[in-house]
């Protein structure tokens, strides 16, 4: 497994470079929007990757609650963190595209709002993980992840009632897209998914090392306290005696 990591890193770098070349030079220019449209090759793959990561987070959280498996918890933490990063990319690239095309930075449209609320939920998830100190943090976080997943469809329906401005989804949404553009889009998605996997993997290993170190330190301090108790028994009692 360890040897697969540098291979994945190299493949990801190549894929990202090739997908960038395809997106900027090879993909045909969009007729009405012009070059601005090329941000689409980063916006949409980031969104798909973020949703995929959040989905993995939910699955890992459920597994953790059922099995109490520490690895599942580490996966949930990692996918939550990396997912927030990708979701941030989506929320930043969206307005950059929307300003010249729609003439506005932001609108309270169904997909924008749902993505924003999803982002908010997962930021609160990370805040909980940061602020909670007890060994029960994974349990609390897993429960919050499930609540977040229940919330998303409700958010979707609550905004579904308003008019939708976002372009229809390119896959299965009835919109037509040039096959060359679709090719570049899927290539970019592959590159982004590899990138997300790479980052998550590195973060996962870091998290596991961190936990090992913490365990070792806790064990060490217990051993020190155990041996120190005998010393202190002979030295300290005088100060404890009632005056």
């Amino acid at each position: 497994m360890k040897r697969a990591f540098p291979i994945l890193a190299a493949v990801t770098a190549l894929l990202l470079a090739y997908a960038f070349y395809e997106a900027i030079w090879v993909a045909p220019m969009e007729r009405t929007m012009g070059d601005v449209q090329r941000i689409f090759y980063y916006h949409v793959p980031s969104a798909w990757t973020a949703f995929l990561l959040f989905f993995v987070n939910l699955i890992a959280s459920v597994i953790y609650l059922v099995r109490r498996n520490a690895k599942a918890d580490a996966v949930a933490l990692v996918t939550g963190e990396v997912g927030v990063v990708f979701c941030t990319v989506v929320l930043v690239t969206g307005p950059i595209w929307a300003r010249p095309v729609w003439g506005i930075w932001w609108t309270w449209d169904i997909r924008l709002t749902t993505t924003l609320v999803l982002w908010l939920i997962y930021v609160s998830y990370l805040v909980l993980r940061r602020f909670s100190e007890s060994s029960q943090t994974p349990k609390l976080a897993a429960v919050l992840a499930i609540f977040g997943a229940l919330d998303v469809p409700l958010v979707y329906f609550s905004i579904w009632f308003f008019r939708t401005q976002h372009p229809q989804p390119v896959i299965g949404g009835g919109g037509s897209i040039d096959p060359r553009m679709l090719h570049v889009l899927l290539l970019n998605w592959l590159a982004f998914s590899c990138f997300a996997l790479l980052v998550s993997w590195a973060r996962y290993r870091l998290e596991m090392f961190k936990r090992e170190v913490e365990e070792a330190e806790a064990l060490e301090s217990l051993l020190v306290a155990g041996s120190g108790a005998q010393i202190s028994k002979t030295q300290i009692p005088l100060s404890r005696e009632p005056q």
Partner: protein
């Protein structure tokens, strides 16, 4: 089932009596929402038509913030003298405790709304142009939505650093669809502009989904120590 009901009732009675004698939470909530009413009134200075448009948002934001005051002290009381630990080792069902706390908060926040709603009407010169009776289901369902998740997240934030600030950080993102439904339903009823049925159904769905989730997962949260 009977033990569930009797334990719920006992805990609820105890909480209501404690609150009735001290009146800590209700007084601070009342004064807090009064301040919100006055400050909003100064900062927007609306005429009658504008009031109808924005009052739904103002009312519910004021109640949301005031409810956090009540929710934060829900469990803090049980931490003193290790009452919560005693509850954990007792064979009493965890959901009885949860339901008692939710009902207690529901009574408290509903009381607050009952007292504050007339004041809102006076300060903003409100008169409902739509069917006013629909405000009652909106208020009941909306309050339940805030309180059921609020009580759950308050229990969750017990074990965190600076838990008073943690509760709104957890509660507000999850409550976004509920708050939107309440605000939209209230606005539609006040302006008489369309039907509020969609939003009431959405609120009901929200309540059912999250009450079920809370009851299913509260045991896990209570035992987390």
């Amino acid at each position: 089932m009977s033990s569930l009901r009797s334990i719920t009732l006992a805990t609820l009675t105890k909480d209501v009596r404690l609150e009735w004698r001290s009146k800590d939470a209700i007084n601070s909530m009342l004064f807090f929402s009064l301040l919100v009413v006055v400050i909003f009134s100064f900062s927007f200075d609306p005429n009658a038509e504008e009031s109808r448009q924005i009052a739904g948002g103002l009312i519910w934001v004021a109640f949301l913030f005031a409810a956090v005051v009540a929710l934060n002290q829900t469990w803090a009381r049980e931490l003193r003298n290790q009452v919560l630990d005693a509850y954990r080792v007792s064979p009493a069902p965890a959901n009885a405790l949860f339901m008692a706390k939710v009902l207690g908060n529901f009574i408290l926040v509903s009381l607050l709304e009952g007292l504050m709603a007339p004041l809102f009407m006076i300060f903003y010169n409100l008169r409902a142009l739509g069917p006013a009776w629909q405000l009652i289901p909106v208020a009941l369902l909306g309050t339940w939505a805030l309180v059921v998740n609020g009580t759950f997240f308050a229990a969750m934030s017990l074990r965190t650093r600076s838990r008073e600030i943690m509760l709104p950080l957890l509660l507000f993102p999850i409550s976004i669809p509920a708050v939107q439904s309440m605000v939209e339903a209230t606005r539609i009823i006040l302006t008489g502009d369309g039907a509020a049925r969609f939003w009431i159904v959405l609120l009901l769905t929200y309540d059912v989904v999250f009450t079920t989730a809370c009851l299913a997962l509260f045991e896990t949260i209570l035992q987390a120590e």
